[in-house]
Subunit: 200 residues, 2 copies
DNA sequence: CGAAGATACATACCGTCGGTATGTTCGTGT
DNA sequence: ACACGAACATACCGACGGTATGTATCTTCG
């Protein structure tokens, strides 16, 4: 039975809305100032609620950060997945890498995903989350290339970690580059050469 | 004229000793618990001094961490420099990479240098420090190989950042590996292949 | 040699922050 | 209609980073 809505928002809507703005404001604050320099007071003030509301939905500051990080990871993953929908596996891998580099260069993604996350949540948790999104894409793409014989059979995990770390660091560097487009081009050619080395 | 030493320790010796133990204890605490979960009270208690002493030599908690990080960086740099004293540039690069991977796998180096440092000091400061030690070696080695024609002329910075990031992440992964020696071997072969790709 | 100043610490205290316990409102199932 | 629980708000606590100030010890120089 449907309940009439005496008020404009139902409880569930209210909950969702509060969490959304909370995570959203927290994300922008974390991105610009860094996790350590953001207080819970800042977050709840920006979201227009109180600490009690925050602690009703999250277990603490770290939990808010985890929610933010999950959102960021999901966003990056979607952008990678949508980068080259219809192509062969090889060019799909390349465009995926390029998309990751450009996405991870944006400051509001970078500070959260690449700088603070390992320190705040610990490397293990960070890698777990990453393994379900961007790293997942990389690993799958490589496995496909191994299965269809494009690159010889070899342990994928070492390669995945090497490439993932390479792109993470490259993204951090590119974000501070004075000539980003120029450096991105050189980085991509160098990265392509590294990927080619797997081929042969 | 030398001043006679009425006491067992002169002031300069005392200062040096205090700083040494302070940094040493802080390092071990930071390494095991991570920066955020170490209080100044923990550090000064372990070092056997008070907060006043700490604040006499350092500007704050962050400054202590910076001193610790500099020590770690210097240590890693020395180990890399001593890894392959008399060889051609190419094998020198390879053994340098191997040394970095094994050194950075140790937990008391890893937590400080690879996990906390970017978040605590900011990526810029972290990279500055790195650029004077481990990254410095990598860049110089590559430049030598370019100058003697082993690898073709190309922008070094993109390659340096890609390789540096790759090894950082690989070290973090190897540290949690169930079969470290085995994975290290595969990582090195994959890394060698990537380096080979620069050659030709 | 000894007073003056600098250096190396110790003690006491403050503001802020993360976290918790409790109170209040209000939608919702029965 | 009403009771219950979810969604908040309010008030408060302990701990931590940081600072101000006091004190003992070494060094310097007339």
């Amino acid at each position: 039975m449907e309940s009439r809505q005496r008020s404009t928002r139902t409880k569930a809507q209210q909950r969702e809305q509060t969490i959304r703005t909370l995570v959203g404001e927290a994300r922008s604050l974390f991105a610009t100032r860094g996790y350590a320099h953001v207080s819970l007071a800042d977050i709840v003030q920006a979201a227009g609620v109180t600490k009690g509301a925050l602690y009703h939905h999250f277990t603490g500051k770290e939990d808010v950060f985890r929610a933010v990080l999950e959102q960021v990871h999901q966003e990056v993953g979607e952008r990678i997945a949508a980068s080259a929908p219809t192509s062969d596996a090889w060019t799909q891998l390349l465009s995926g890498c390029r998309t990751f580099l450009t996405a991870s260069t944006e400051p509001n993604i970078q500070q959260i995903m690449l700088i603070d996350a390992p320190s705040v949540l610990g490397w293990g948790v960070w890698r777990e989350l990453d393994a379900t999104t961007s790293m997942q894409h990389l690993q799958e793409a490589l496995q496909v290339l191994i299965d269809d014989g494009t690159i010889p059979d070899q342990p994928v995990l070492p390669v995945v970690h090497l490439l993932s770390g390479a792109m993470n660091e490259a993204a951090l560097w590119l974000a501070r580059s004075a000539n980003r487009e120029h450096d991105l081009a050189h980085t991509m050619t160098a990265l392509e050469r590294m990927l080619e080395s797997l081929r042969r």
